[in-house]
């Protein structure tokens, strides 16, 4: 017969091995299973805690936050001053070129429920879901620029894959439309935030430091003209083939408090012009 201490030690080891085995199983489980398990937990056991956090986010009204919101509103108001003239010019140019009017849509505001894990900035939890009109593959922006896209949406919560996620890709171009490429996250980071790479730029094309990079609209997920970031230098180059540029992102998912989920065809106020002609 085993001594009690030894029995306990064996039980501890067995429990530990079981938990590790289940964790490793979860790590390598098919992605749909992972999403089902996560969304089931959010809908059931974690629902009261998410509701509590949503309430905390909604009632957070510190002075610093108020001042930041005031500054954002002032900037938006200043930018909107020239909007009627631009809209009028745009309508006349479209009429001259025989183009149809812009597709318009709406944007759904949502609170970001930040978590404590270091991978929080890769996948954000939003406090709104399908009941607010949020659906998978809708683009998500902050006042500063592109954050990512909705990966999955439940009734009251949604998950956003941000540009910091290794699987994130977006079709991009420089503001003047002369250079196009694909952006994705890079391991080359700054202390504050991860950085992006603009890949697939032909070797013959060069992009100056400080050039703004925006979404090109190719692929149909992101509308053209969302601000992605600014070129800060060449990350690497393949002789005679392509250059890869390092891009400092406009928006920081780790610091985003409120975001806008763009419905079909919507472009937020302050986004780079959709009508910049290459």
């Amino acid at each position: 017969m085993l001594e009690p201490d030894r029995t306990f030690a064996r039980r501890d080891t067995a429990l530990f091995v079981l938990c590790v085995a289940l964790s490793i199983g979860a790590l390598f489980a098919p992605e749909p299973w992972q999403y089902v398990a996560a969304s089931t937990a959010r809908r059931t056991a974690l629902a009261p805690l998410i509701a509590l956090q949503r309430r905390a986010e909604a009632s957070r009204t510190s002075r610093a936050r108020f001042e930041a919101l005031t500054a954002q509103r002032d900037s938006a108001a200043a930018a909107a001053q020239s909007l009627p003239v631009l809209l009028d010019e745009n309508a006349r140019l479209r009429a001259l070129l025989g183009l149809a009017g812009r597709v318009s849509g709406r944007a759904v505001p949502a609170e970001v429920l930040h978590q404590a894990l270091p991978t929080d900035a890769r996948m954000l939890l939003l406090g709104s879901g399908r009941t607010a009109g949020i659906l998978p593959f809708q683009p998500v922006v902050s006042p500063d620029g592109l954050i990512g896209l909705v990966r999955s949406a439940g009734a009251t919560t949604a998950l956003v894959m941000t540009w910091a996620h290794p699987d994130f890709r977006a079709s991009a171009m420089t503001l003047d439309g002369s250079v196009t490429g694909l952006v994705g996250v890079t391991a080359d980071a700054s202390i504050r935030e991860p950085m992006l790479e603009l890949r697939g730029v032909p070797y013959r094309d060069s992009v100056a430091v400080g050039t703004p990079v925006i979404t090109s609209g190719l692929g149909g997920v992101y509308p053209r003209g969302l601000s992605i970031g600014t070129v800060v230098g060449v990350a690497r180059q393949s002789e005679g083939w392509e250059r890869v540029y390092l891009v400092r992102p406009s928006a920081a998912p780790a610091r985003a408090g409120h975001v806008l989920v763009l419905q079909q065809g919507a472009v937020p106020v302050g986004a780079a012009s959709e009508d910049s002609i290459p």
């Binding site: 306990f8 039980r11 501890d12 080891t13 067995a14 429990l15 530990f16 938990c19 590790v20 289940l22 964790s23 490793i24 199983g25 979860a26 790590l27 390598f28 489980a29 992972q34 999403y35 398990a37 996560a38 969304s39 937990a41 959010r42 056991a45 974690l46 805690l49 998410i50 509590l52 956090q53 309430r55 905390a56 986010e57 957070r60 510190s62 429920l113 930040h114 978590q115 404590a116 894990l117 270091p118 991978t119 929080d120 890769r122 996948m123 939890l125 998950l159 996620h165 290794p166 890079t186 391991a187 080359d188 980071a189 700054s190 202390i191 991860p194 780790a254 610091r255």
Partner: protein, 165 residues
């Protein structure tokens, strides 16, 4: 009510308080990257007074909740918290954690180790990993340790953790 049952109820109340702090108070604190991780603090306090098997199970459950809320790499937090919980329960026997500062260091180390494991399991590399491990994670560990010192000082009798006077 027996003394053991009363102790368990008091401990459960402290754990509930930490859950409330995590979901209601933490979002109101400063940057979410450095605000104390009260759930991790709860796991460390639980591990300090529990058997390794129970601590591993608690870590697994906490990790599952974390992964459900941040499924950037589902399973990473489960694995990390299981290992940290199990290790912390064994570490207590080694370190004789009856000093407030030792407990604080123990909590900070647990948070940092959790971050290391989560990032490695998530495939993070390069400068992003270094920036996280040598800047953000130590800050998170320190803030969590500070919160741990306050909780330990206030609830030392309820938590049944022996501290040097």
């Amino acid at each position: 009510m027996t003394a053991g049952r009363a102790r368990r109820i008091r401990f459960a109340l402290v754990m509930l308080l930490l859950v409330w702090l995590q979901f209601y108070v933490r979002p109101r604190l400063w940057s979410p990257r450095v605000a104390p991780d009260f759930l991790m603090l709860g796991l460390m306090l639980f591990a300090i007074r529990s058997r390794p098997g129970a601590a591993a199970l608690a870590g697994f459950i906490l990790g599952f909740a974390s992964d459900a809320l941040t499924p950037a790499r589902f399973g990473a937090a489960m694995l990390a918290n299981t290992l940290v919980g199990y290790g912390a329960a064994w570490g207590r026997a080694v370190f004789f954690a009856d000093n407030l500062l030792v407990n604080a260091g123990f909590i900070a180390a647990g948070v940092w180790l959790r971050d290391v494991l989560v990032l490695i399991a998530s495939g993070t590399g390069g400068k992003a990993l270094l920036a996280q491990l040598f800047f953000w994670s130590p800050l998170l560990g320190l803030s969590t340790a500070l919160a741990g010192v306050i909780v330990l000082a206030v609830f030392r009798d309820w938590l049944d953790i022996r501290l040097e006077e």
